[in-house]
């Protein structure tokens, strides 16, 4: 059976991504009300990213190395660990801090962004990057799961 922590980690991470997407949408044409909602959304995003980090990190450092990694490495898609997992686990470390920056910007410079189009554009780009990186994490997670599944199937035949 697949460890439920994998699903919880992915669900928390993707909820965080949705929260930052919500922040992005609110800040396209911000006013005072939208700014308030954007602050809440960004704060939720940071909380979900940190929860995803803790749950995923616990699973990765306890179960993955002993139960999953050796199976993938012996299977037909060893790159699922060698490239995807290695890159994912390290690039992921950027995300909680980028999330804090998005929250910090919307909280400390949000009022300015209502009028300053240049700053708002920079903010929207960095928030979009958070969303895209979050989606890339999900894709990499899918690749790792596929690598594990293909190894199990190859072992059965």
């Amino acid at each position: 059976m697949v460890n439920p922590l994998v699903g919880i980690h992915a669900a928390l991470g993707e909820t965080g991504v949705f929260a930052f997407f919500w922040t992005f949408v609110e800040m396209i044409t911000p006013d005072k009300k939208r700014l308030q909602r954007a602050k809440i959304a960004a704060m939720l995003g940071v909380i979900f990213f940190f929860m995803s980090w803790i749950i995923g990190g616990y699973y990765y450092s306890t179960d993955y190395g002993t139960d999953v990694k050796p199976v993938i490495k012996k299977g037909p898609q060893p790159w699922a660990h060698g490239v995807m997992m290695e890159a994912k686990e390290h690039i992921f470390l950027f995300l909680p801090f980028l999330g804090i920056v998005v929250f910090s910007l919307v909280s400390l410079a949000g009022e300015r962004m209502i009028k300053d189009a240049k700053l708002r554009k920079s903010f929207l780009i960095v928030t979009a990057l958070v969303v895209l990186m979050g989606l890339a994490m999900a894709f990499m997670g899918y690749s790792i799961s596929s690598g594990f599944r293909s190894a199990l199937e190859a072992g059965r035949t």
Binding site: G82, H90, F94, L108
Partner: protein, 100 residues
């Protein structure tokens, strides 16, 4: 310190954190002793990198007085570009390491 200065400090701290994570990731793969050291101190090398990243971010955001003179929009753009570049470096590094 006004709000904009605080925001700039957070952005700059994030930039430093991203660079530290990237450098530590590549260095730990190149040096087995560094990776083992992280394992011994923090139980797992990845946990070690995460804790170091957290410490670096908090240190530069709240303890070490960073002064950023450039406009906030420019600093945010630099963070975006730096993050993309470091992400590509990590991905290409592991791709190279796997096929080498």
């Amino acid at each position: 310190m006004n709000n904009e200065e605080k925001a700039k400090r957070h952005v700059a701290s994030c930039m430093i954190t991203v660079v530290v994570v990237t450098a530590l990731t590549v260095a730990a793969e190149m040096s087995a002793s560094l990776k083992d050291g992280l394992k011994q101190v923090f139980f797992h090398h990845w946990v070690g990198k995460g804790i170091i990243a957290l410490v670096v971010f908090v240190l530069f955001a709240h303890v070490i007085p960073l002064r950023v003179k450039k406009p906030l929009s420019k600093v945010v753009n630099w963070l975006t570009m730096l993050t993309v570049a470091c992400g590509i470096v990590i991905f290409l590094f592991f791709l190279w390491e796997f096929f080498a």
